[in-house]
Symmetry: C2
Subunit: 209 residues, 2 copies
């Protein structure tokens, strides 16, 4: 956690630093990100950096915490807005909301992308310890609920389905990124909706004739 000095800073200066850090970490990931660059971008001297944060990792974990909080807030708002959806509808909602999140919070999304690629294990575990992996339990909860309601077949393995949904969720995002890059969301909304429906169709009916 950042030192008290950091939180005593005037809000706009703090925000400058946060913005600069998000920018750097979302482009470079933890290990290749440069504290010098963050200082230069936010206009603070090197010495001040180490007045505010104990080290690079301290800042990184703080930034990731902000991003995680934001994303969780985003999803849970979406889910509670529509209670009593079927599993398939819930999944559809999460997919589309996932894309929406990446669109409205591109920096946070990029941060997450970089995090999943991070090779520095100590940095990864430090972030995870500070709270994540809730998406897995979220999916498992949804699946169990749906089974209880008799929505889906009992022969479906919950663990396997959860893995499938997780990998699918990230795959959809990177697919959209690869295909349309940073182009406007609205322009390709139809394509994306159609693609998601195709996936859901496979998921629901299976591929058998």
């Amino acid at each position: 956690m950042p030192r008290e000095t950091f939180f005593n800073l005037p809000k706009d200066k703090r925000d400058h630093i946060i913005t600069a850090a998000i920018e750097e970490f979302s482009q470079a990931g933890y290990s290749t990100a440069s504290t010098n660059q963050i200082c230069k971008k936010s206009g603070i001297p090197k010495g001040s950096f180490y007045q505010y944060f104990t080290d690079k990792l301290d800042l990184y974990v703080y930034i990731m915490t902000l991003a995680i909080e934001e994303k969780i807030r985003f999803f849970s708002v979406a889910l509670t807005e529509f209670p009593a959806l079927s599993l398939l509808e819930q999944i559809r909602l999460l997919f589309t909301k996932g894309i929406e999140f990446a669109k409205t919070h591109p920096q946070y999304a990029a941060l997450g992308e970089q995090f999943s690629k991070e090779s520095d294990e100590s940095a990864k575990s430090a972030v995870i310890k500070e709270g994540d992996k809730r998406s897995d339990t979220l999916f498992l909860q949804m699946i169990d609920q749906a089974k209880a309601k008799g929505e889906i077949d009992d022969s479906v393995d919950a663990q396997a389905l959860s893995l499938l949904l997780q990998s699918l969720n990230s795959a959809v995002n990177s697919y959209m990124q690869d295909r349309y890059g940073s182009l406007s969301y609205e322009e390709h909304e139809k394509d994306m909706k159609h693609f998601i429906e195709s996936l859901l169709n496979i998921l629901y009916r299976g591929i058998k004739k």
Copy 2:
């Protein structure tokens, strides 16, 4: 491509260098890997390194090429061994062979893992240019074939299914890695087989009741 000097080297010295490079790149990825470390590990002086390779990227692309060739050979042998399998059987074969490859060639598998995480775009594109992405076309071919044979439903979106299979394939591998680490393959063969069957079951029948 390495310089001629490199290929004139006695085979065991060349192999030492290759081994050291694989070790380093599979642990650190391209951008964080250190040429100094590779020199130290393989026992060659710094000067010799730059006698053999034009630069770090030259060596990296060469190593990746070796890994890709090996993996493609592995898969195509497996597929041609059993001609006339159904799509589901082909997919099952690829999943299990994928795990087997990761088990028998852990270094190469780790190399691929690191590559997919690589953030240095120039390195990525240099490797891709030298030949990859065949797995995507492989899946698409299999799907088209299966459709032609009337094995799977026409309403299934080939592109969507291919993406699903790709992401699932890598997800299965990292899942196994996370769960069982480097433990012996045989010990958990049953678990893994069971897990794969669960996934194939969802894929085939869908999740609907």
